[in-house]
Amino acid sequence: MTWETVIGLEIHSQLKTKSKIFSGASTAFGATANTQACAVDLGYPGVLPVLNQEAVKMALSFGLSVNATINKNSIFARKNYFYPDLPKGYQISQFEIPIVGNGVIDISLENGENKLVGITRAHLEEDAGKSIHDMYDEFTAIDLNRAGTPLLEIVSEPDMSSAKEAVAYAKKIHALVQYIDICDGNMQEGSFRCDANVSVRKHGDKLGTRAELKNINSFKFLEKAINLEVERQIDILEEGGSVVQETRLYDSIKNETRSMRSKEEANDYRYFPDPDLLPVAVSEELLLEIKKSLPELPTEKKLRFVEQLGLSSYDAEILTSQKEVADYFEAVINKGADAKLSANWVMGELSAALNKNQVEINDSPIPSNELFVLISRITDNTISGKIAKDVFKLMWEGNGSVDEIIEKQGLKQMTDSSALESIIDDIISNNLDQVKQYKDGNSKLLGFFVGQVMKATQGKANPKQVNQILNEKLS
């Protein structure tokens, strides 16, 4: 019996505004508890919210980036529930009319195909504070620094059919919000959080009962949590049971999901329009202004890499999947390095070294200008591609710049053809048997001669030149 998985994601993306969504308090992360919460954030009697227009602009940037409908008059509503880290007893969010309506985003699947994922809506809301349960034995500590931080909640259609697709979608949104500079994307600090709605059904059936998975703070955990949940639901159904609609918490340490609350236990949030805030009016002028200020989006960039730089679609996808990677790559080629060669180096040696050492590209010990020099030394025949890999390794380990290393280690390619010719003459005279076989038609032996020359020159000979001289002398 085969089961079909249906996944929709709700992504909470913390917006990069300097101040909070409804107050002037700072949103900076990591300050001493409760030092970045003003009377408004603390829900003091009599205070009123005032909407931060930067947050509106950021939401609109997102909406325009996913070709979404923009609601010209969206409404803030109060979501009422009691919790100590929610000072007012309600969260100001958007309910019936969100600022961003239906949109769509293109994701790349592992098999190289593309898939369109629908975006149901994206709405502005304020974050709650933090409850810290493990600080004191008998008390819960509350830090309200985060209370009132602007969030854009991006809700997808249930268009994903595997954990991998869900991850691809989440990564795409993650890249997009960083491209348009509305979110720092830091998942550890909670700037980008995913909740997954997961259900399974038999092919052709209507949607199954879903469970909402919460507390997922990495793409790896997203994939694991979804797979666990799919397995759990299939097991239940195959044993003749039924899935209960509930919210489940993912525990990354135990690698399990567990029930947090059932549908029956869910709050009745008693949403109603917030009378303290006017509808958010979006003018055509503002939309136009934002449209103009949008940077090149990943999809556009990818297309340009293919069309103008001649990269393969696959390479262009990888290079544009993270803004920092694309920025790095473009910094290398903007200095004049060959695009294809640069792409190979960024996706090859550099990515491998970054992954191996768990370093982010922005913290790479080899900055883009050094990689540019390295690639230039290959194309100007100073060193071979093979030697370049050694230089890269030495650079990574902090042994100096490209040119210093080439100089110090004497890695400069031999360009003196007369010296090379005499070396080649020696090799020919010492290997007459092989010369004969080669001339009899065993053309594979050319490699043998090249190897001998490289050995004799410690790899410093220019392979192209070696080939050329060998061809002349052996014919």
Binding site: P45, V50, F82, P87, Y90, D268, R270, Y271, P275, D276
Partner: protein, 480 residues
């Protein structure tokens, strides 16, 4: 006696050095001390004396504004930095506000002198001031009677001349009804005219602050100081503030006054009706034209109001949870117990009743039938007024169906809600409204209600002032 002077006269007195702000302030503080009306929750004598001395030095230097050194009483719903701000509730009995409401700041910026914070129905919910944690205020005309509510302390303070004026707030009649019952002039401006920042919210879409004075001229003077756009209140109007004293003396010849027939039906006390009709006749004799109009949806005002206001208050009052400030129950067992007991013990019955009504009306499955329906009714009520204001300039009628009633006499909450039958529509439509002293019924004052179109405060004040030039009800006082 200084306390019989209007604000306009006190401004002159201070300017002419007939008396100092300190003398004036001390005089009022002594009167407050002697008063038995329970009009104040807090009397801020020390601060008042400091402010008065400062005001005197500013007056001496000659860089005073017109209101520098004028004392006032502040409804205890406005946050005042460093001063207890209770909203008449046990919940906030221990609450010292860490900040000033915009209105408090505005009055401070003119170096006015705050005498104290006035008593009120808890969180402004009530029409008799009997819902105060600090006990009821007594009506200065008859201490067995209620002063009206929720700004009962403010009304009684002004009527008994223990403060030259007081601030009030009006969500469903809370300025106009106590003004009527205490025989003073009360103005509820257009929604958005005065900042709500720092005014503890009852029903955000209806709440509006306003002046409570003895005369319309004083109301104009004080409204000048209170009105204006505030970046901290998104619902405040970014609209020019005219000088409200400028057009007070315009003739009312040709003024079209509308009398809604629905405001003169059964339920209106005959004595009150007589006073109101006499006042209307006075206007007619001043050259105004009287036209009967209809506000057909006003019969729905009470049910609509008692959905909208409780819905908003159920959410506005959620912040009073015993966690960060205000009342907290003893030894909470767990979080739920903390919430349950802090709120059960900290709120009074009427507040709890309205929170329950509101939470119910907003809950899943009832929202459309109650909240949305009430909003539609609200729209209809607005449209009624819109139509009427195409025909007339000002609408007039009673403020309250009766004069002041006996303390403790109205026990059923729904009967109490009927006291607001003529005032609620104005809040639902966001219009300005006034109550001015118009006479007496059984020795108790009766107010006349003036309702104008949006932003017509100038016309209302002019209309009221002209009446006060011809009558002296506003000068009659229960004290010597």
């Amino acid at each position: 006696m200084m306390h019989n002077l209007t604000i306009a006269e006190q401004i002159k007195g201070l300017k002419n050095r007939d008396f100092s702000s300190l003398e004036l302030t001390q005089h009022y503080l002594n009167r407050i001390d002697d008063s038995k009306l329970n009009a104040f929750i807090s009397v801020t004598s020390e601060q008042a004396i400091t402010q008065a001395k400062l005001a005197d030095s500013i007056l001496a230097k000659g860089n005073a504004t017109s209101l520098t050194g004028i004392p006032y009483a502040h409804k205890d719903i406005f946050c005042t930095k460093g001063v207890k701000t209770s909203a008449g509730s046990k919940m906030l009995d221990s609450f010292i506000s860490p900040y000033d409401a915009t209105l408090s700041e505005k009055l401070n910026s003119q170096n006015m002198v705050m005498l104290g914070k006035t008593n009120m129905d808890e969180f402004a919910m009530g029409s008799s001031n009997e819902n105060s944690y600090y006990g009821p205020v007594k009506n200065p005309w008859d201490t067995k009677k209620v002063p009206g509510g929720s700004s009962g302390g403010s009304a009684a303070a002004v009527a008994s001349h223990i403060s030259p004026f007081a601030t009030g707030t009006d969500t469903g009649g809370s300025i106009r009804q106590p003004a009527s019952l205490c025989g003073i002039t009360g103005l509820k401006p257009t929604y958005g005219r005065i900042s709500r920042y720092g005014m503890i919210a009852y029903a955000s879409s209806l709440d509006q602050a306003g002046p409570m004075t003895r005369t319309a001229e004083d109301s104009a003077i004080i409204l000048n100081a209170m009105a204006g756009f505030d970046t901290k209140d998104s619902t405040s109007a970014n609209k020019l503030v005219p000088d409200y004293t400028k057009n007070l003396s315009k003739s009312l010849k040709g003024l079209k006054i509308g009398l809604p027939k629905e405001y003169f039906s059964e339920g209106l006390d005959k004595g009150v009706e007589k006073v109101v009709m006499k006042a209307i006749n006075d206007y007619e004799s001043m050259g105004a034209e009287i036209i009967e109009v209809s506000l057909p949806n006003s019969i729905h005002a009470i049910p609509a109001y008692y959905i909208v206001a409780p819905c908003e208050c159920s959410s506005n009052l959620s912040r009073f949870d015993g966690v960060r400030y205000g009342y907290r129950c003893d030894d909470p067992k767990d979080l739920n117990d903390l919430y349950l007991r802090s709120r059960s013990e900290g709120f009074g019955d009427e507040v709890k009743r309205r929170i329950m009504i509101g939470a119910y009306a907003l809950s899943a499955g009832y929202y459309d039938a109650y909240y949305l329906k009430a909003q539609k009714v609200r729209q209809l009520i607005s449209e009624d007024f819109k139509k009427v204001f195409k025909e007339v300039d000002v609408v007039m009628g009673p403020v309250s169906p009766t004069a002041a009633f006996d303390l403790g006499s109205v026990k059923d909450p729904v009967s109490m809600y009927l006291a607001d039958i003529y005032t609620l529509s104005v809040n639902l439509a966001g219009l300005p409204g006034m109550s001015i002293p118009a006479g007496f019924s059984d020795n108790l004052p009766v107010g006349l209600q003036l309702i104008g179109d949006h932003w017509s405060e100038e016309l209302l004040l002019n209309t009221a002032h002209q009446f006060q030039l011809k009558t002296d009800w506003h000068h009659l006082s229960p004290v010597d």
